[in-house]
Structures are given as C-alpha cells and as structure tokens.
C-alpha cells in the first residue's frame, strides 16, 4: 500500500522528466467572487423576463413543466392541483426557513398532509423515520438556489431543513423560485460556486438538476424516472419571495 509521500515523490519525479506539452494556465478566477456574484444577480434581476423565457424553453426541452404564479400565496394551489391529478395526498417540504416562506397552512387548506423537514438535527430514530417518510411520499417541495437559463437547470444546496432526498425520492419534484435565482450561463454558475465556497457551507452537497431522471440504456429508448423523479415542476413566483 502506498502513502501520500510516495505518490507525490513519484509524481514529482515524472514532472522533472518532462517539459510541458505547451504553455498553459488554469482559468482566471474572480478575486472577490461574492461581489461579482452580487453584481451578476443585480444585473440579471433587471432583465429577469428574458432569462425566464430562456429557462422555460430549455426546461421544457428536457421534460420539465413551468408554472407561473404572481405571489407565494398562490404556490399551494398549484401544488394541490398537481397532487390531486396524481392521486397524492401528502407532500414533503423543505423547512420554511429554507424555502423562504411557509407553505404549510396553504397546503393544509388544499387537504394535503405536509411533512415539514426540521432545520435542526433530530435523534437517530427520528432521522430513520424521516427518511422513511421522504421515501414513501409522492411529492417533494423544495426551493432553488440558482436557476440556470442556458440549460434549464435548477441548482439546490443541501443543508439543515433542506434534505437532499426531497428532490430525489418522491416521484414528483416541485421547486419554487423567483427572479433572484435566475442566472444565464454556466460561466456565471462558476462565479456563484466560487462565491458559495468563500464561506462555511451549510451542507455537503450541491445538486444540479436538469429535468426528470432519465435513461436511454435499453435500445436508446428515452425513459423517464428510472431512479429519481419521473416529473419535475418549477413554480416561478413573480413577486420576489419574502418581499
């Protein structure tokens, strides 16, 4: 078995042997990623309609469905309708602090049982029970940390109150966002990722989700929902959440 020192010694030996194939440098990184990210967000918020149109086109291309509502108060009605159409009576939801609003009363009014996720760590037994709940609930409701227009991608960070599997185990994933989440390009996502890593992260995972789970492994026939959700819905809230 090898050690770190052995590995590095051998690599350095090889590097000493060979000149570079050509002069090359890694990407230039933003010196103050937080500031650049804030500027990008501010600029984009002003032309959010363009970004949203592009997001919608790409999101629908990959099999997503976009719903447009005026206010967060309208979100439970959309979720209620989706649930009824699918014969579902319960939903798992991120904690209100992670969503930016509390959907529980509205969803209850839609006759839905809401399994809210805690924002503090419960004991081991409760953790097992919550996992079972997420695995058996047909709908998962989450927020979105960035919505990438270029590819129709929703980016979600894990952390307290925002369990990873809310967007993975339920057959239908519903995600809510507003104009402040929209970004245009992968290069801008690069800046966001740099910015997010300047501080202690709330969770260990960042997920990019581009439509429903898919496979083409049998005779290249496109099939949805092989492991993750069969359906992905995005609810765009026109009046910024929390304003």
């Amino acid at each position: 078995m090898s050690s770190r020192a052995e590995f590095l010694t051998r690599i350095r030996g090889q590097l000493a042997k060979t000149p570079a194939l050509f002069t090359a440098a890694p990407s230039l990184r933003p010196a103050r990623p937080r500031e650049v990210a804030d500027t990008i967000r501010r600029e984009l918020a002003e032309r959010w309609q363009e970004s949203l149109t592009r997001f919608q086109r790409e999101f629908e291309r990959v099999g997503g469905v976009l719903h447009h509502v005026a206010d967060v108060q309208d979100v439970p009605a959309v979720v209620g309708r989706l649930a009824r159409e699918r014969g579902a009576s319960s939903v798992v939801a991120w904690h209100p602090s992670a969503l930016g609003f509390d959907p529980t009363p509205g969803l209850a009014a839609e006759q839905l049982t809401v399994h809210g996720m805690p924002d503090v760590l419960p004991d081991a037994e409760r953790r097992r029970a919550l996992r079972e709940t997420i695995a058996t609930t047909p709908l998962g409701l989450t927020g979105v940390d960035a919505a990438l227009a270029e590819t129709g991608t929703m980016i979600l960070r894990s952390g307290p109150g925002r369990p990873r599997s809310t967007s993975l185990l339920p057959a239908t994933h519903v995600a809510v966002f507003d104009r402040h989440a929209l970004v245009e390009s992968l290069a801008q996502v690069g800046v966001l990722l740099e910015a997010w890593h300047t501080e202690e992260a709330p969770g260990a995972v960042i997920n990019f989700i581009t439509g429903p789970s898919r496979t083409a492994d049998i005779e290249l026939t496109l099939t949805r929902g092989v492991h993750g959700p069969k359906e992905v819905h995005a609810i765009f809230v026109e009046r910024p959440i929390g304003e």
Partner: protein, 474 residues
C-alpha cells in the same frame, strides 16, 4: 484478475463481432445517433470551440503542477472530515475498499457507473469478500445480471435488445412474462434498485472531476443513481484516477459546458452532483464516512511518458462513436475495460505496450477521434508511437517486423524502389482478379484475408512523372 475475452485473439473477437447481425445494427444506430446529437449540441453552442481549447489548457496546466493540486485536494478532503487513500495498483485499491467494507460491517454496496472500478475489477473482489455489489446504472445493472462487461463507456448495454433484457429480467429476477418494453423494463429496475439503495451500507462511485480548491468530488449522471448512492448509504467511497483533479470551480464550469454535449448531446446531464466530504453534522442525510481512493495504475508513469496526452481524457465516449473500427466491432472485441481509440491508449497505459500489439493497429488513423475529442487529444499520433514501441520492444511478431523493416530499407533506396514496380506487376499476375488482389500467398495472405489490395498500376506515378519529363511537359 483475468481478462476473460483474451482467451481468443483480437482478430477472432473482431471477426465474431463483424458476423453478429444484431450487434452490427445496434452499433450503427447507437453511434450514428450519438454523432448527430453531439453535432447538434455544439451547433447551437458557438462558444464551444473556444471552450474546448480552454478545457484542454486547464488539463495540461493541471498536469504540469499535479503534485500541487493533488496535495490541495487531499488536504481539503481531510479538512472536511473525509479520508484519502493512495492506490498504486488495482490490488491496492481493492484491498483499501475491502478494508473499509470490513471495518464498517458492510454487506451490500450500491454502485453508480464508474470506469475506474471496472478497471480494478472491484465487483469480483467484493463478492469474494462477502459484500454484494449492486450496479445501479440501468445499463450496468443489465450487464451485471447477464455477467457481461460494458461495451461502451457511456452506454454499457447497447449490444443488447429489449427482448434479451426482458428474458434476462424474467430469468434473474424471477418475474414471469416480462414484456419487451423499455418503459416496463425501466420500471422493474426502478423498483428492484430502490430497495437496494435503501438497504445498502456502502455507496461506491467514480468521479468525473475533483476540485482541488474545495475538496469537491463531482459526479455526472442522468438516472439519479449517483445521488442515491451518495445520499442513502452510511459510507461513501469514491474511486478516481489521479488525473481527474481540476484546480477550481471556475475550471469545473468549463468542463461541465462541454462534457455532456460530447457524450450524449445534452446541454447538461440531468444530475451534476458536487459532494464535499461526509454529511455535515447538522444535515439530516448523507454518509457518516467519506473515502476518496486516488488511483495510479500506470497513470503516474505516463506524466513523463508517450501517453501523457491521454491523461486529459474526460471519458465522454465521443471518440468511440466516430471511430470506423469501433463502429464495426463494438466494445467487447477490444477485450479490455476501455474500448475505442482512447481505450487502446488507456489499455497500453494500464497494462503496458504488450497488451496492445494487435490493438495498436485497430485504427485507420483517419483522425475522426481527434476531431471529436472535447479536449482535442491527438489519439492517432499516440497510436503511431505505440506501434513504434511495439516494434522496438520486439513485441510485434518477427514476420511483421521483418516486412516493415524490409519496406523501410527499400523506401530509402529510390533506384531499387523503382525496380519493384515492374517486378510486382509481373508477380501479381496470377493474383489480380477484376482489378483487385483478393488473395496473396504465404504470410502475406494474412493481409488479404479480410481486405482487398489494389494491384500495382500499369504505369506507376513515378513512371508517369518520368514520361511527362520526356515529353517535355514538365
């Protein structure tokens, strides 16, 4: 560990593939579709060409300071509470993973698709140690049930029909009357594997990238199995070649912009998962333990070797789809973990030049692979270098070496070479039929066994060139 296909020589394996009607059809359909999707994706993405150059520059820049970036990665993963292991050989890697399994009492391991774990033949070792490995990528699941090996880097089961998959599911899963419908077959796999995800103690993945600056391991999947295996089991083990490290998140964004477009023609794959160490203490889900196994297996020696460029490979499979040889014989005929043009180079890297004495010639050197490669790896150049090495190290058969040596000697003597045309014209007479030479005697027959030769022309180029001079027309 043995390479089962190698009991028969390459030529026999290729011949078998060429006579497999279904395989021929499946290969044509799949590779053509991948080529079209890729072309379309880059067609809509004008900045793609510049990004390919950028991506290649990042790979080369990373290699030039690989020690630095690896150290940074290792420090960050450890700081996040993960454990890093160093494996020089496949045996090392297997031992490390089996030790983790034993220590954590793992009985079942769910795996997302990983060429690195194929390369170290991990499944056999896990099984022998009493740990059940479950491949969860649908294609990999199918070939695991069938006890076969992947035939394409990104579409491992393209050689199987839906009828064959239905029969396989009926037989192996004890479900009678499974219809040959991809939708139903996928639903069955979903149900079977969902149970395994929830039961498994250990999740094993590869890594498409690892970001040095943040200690992040990046997994790209379409099915979501990469997310399952890094979310549900209590232990996550990621196995990656040392060359997969990239410096920063800014660099990662460049690779993400070209990887899926090259592989499947998608703008992005459905799931890109960035994993930083084990579950954070306040998080509800995620593994309690995170292990990163850094794999050498011949890679480090190539930093200063002839195959250095191949260390930039992203494993997208684009060069397979465009290769006239791969399109004709498919992945299994190559006989090793990595098929296709890049596969030949990687096989030489992992198993030494002796392993590719035939495979080095399984290329028309047409250059389609270099054109398709998202990071513009000059595969044909390295194939030629391999052929040279195979010759110089006397790995090639003596007849082949003798023929080429004689040919080289002749080419270096123009006066003598000119004499060969009339001699060849005389000697080919009994063999030329209808403007082709279809059969040659002695060991030359090996060449004409599978291809025709055009006969030497009635007047060769140099003869006509001299004619022109005589006629005063040049």
């Amino acid at each position: 560990m043995s390479e089962p296909e190698l009991a028969t020589p390459f030529r026999a394996r290729a011949g078998e593939a060429l006579h497999d009607g279904f395989l021929q059809q499946a290969l044509t359909i799949a590779t053509t579709k991948f080529i079209d999707l890729r072309r379309e994706a880059f067609g809509e993405f004008p900045e793609g060409e510049a990004l390919r150059d950028r991506a290649r520059a990042i790979k080369e820049a990373t290699l030039q300071r690989l020690d630095h970036y690896l150290e940074q990665l290792v420090d960050n993963v450890e700081r996040l509470g993960g454990t890093v292991h160093f494996a020089t050989t496949p045996e090392d890697a297997r031992r490390i993973i089996l030790d983790i399994a034993e220590r954590t009492g793992a009985r079942m391991a769910v795996k997302s698709k990983s060429m690195a774990t194929e390369e170290i033949h991990l499944n056999d070792a896990l099984e022998a140690a009493g740990v059940t490995p479950v491949e969860t990528d649908l294609g990999e699941y199918i070939i695991q049930l069938a006890h076969e090996r992947p035939s394409h880097i990104i579409a491992p089961a393209i050689h199987k029909t839906k009828g064959q998959v239905a029969d396989l599911f009926s037989r192996e899963l004890g479900r009678p009357d499974v219809p040959a419908d991809p939708e139903v077959l996928t639903a069955i796999a979903r149900a079977e594997l969902r149970e395994k995800f929830l039961q498994a103690d250990m999740g094993i993945t590869g890594a498409n990238f690892a970001v040095a600056d943040t200690g992040t391991v990046v997994l790209v999947t379409n099915e979501g199995n990469g997310r399952m295996v890094t979310t549900l089991p209590r232990v996550h083990v990621a196995v990656m070649g040392v060359e997969k490290v990239v410096p920063s998140m800014t660099d990662l964004a460049v690779f993400l912009a070209i990887l899926a477009k090259s592989a499947t023609g998608q703008k992005l794959s459905v799931y890109t998962t960035l994993v930083r160490g084990p579950r954070k203490p306040t998080e509800l889900e995620g593994p309690d333990e995170f292990h990163l196994v850094l794999l050498d297996n011949g890679r480090i020696d190539q930093i200063g070797g002839t195959l250095r460029e191949a260390l930039s490979c992203l494993r997208c499979g684009a060069c397979l789809n465009v290769c006239p040889v791969y399109r004709s014989i498919g992945g299994h005929a190559y006989g090793y973990t990595y098929p296709g043009p890049i596969g030949i180079l990687l096989t030489a890297m992992l198993n030494g030049p002796g392993s590719v004495k035939d495979l080095a010639h399984a290329s028309s050197l047409c250059g389609a692979c270099a054109d398709a490669c998202p990071v513009r790896i000059d595969i044909p150049r390295m194939l030629i270098e391999l052929r040279k090495e195979v010759d110089e190290k006397r790995i090639a058969p003596w007849t082949e070496r003798m023929v080429f040596r004689a040919f080289a000697w002749l080419l270096g003597r123009p006066a003598l070479f000119r004499l060969t045309a009339p001699i060849a014209r005389l000697m080919q007479r009994p063999f030329a039929r209808g403007g082709r030479i279809t059969r040659l005697p002695l060991f030359f027959g090996e060449w004409t066994r599978t291809r025709d030769l055009p006969p030497v022309a009635a007047r060769t180029f140099s003869e006509r060139w001299d004619d022109l001079a005589r006629e005063g027309r040049r």
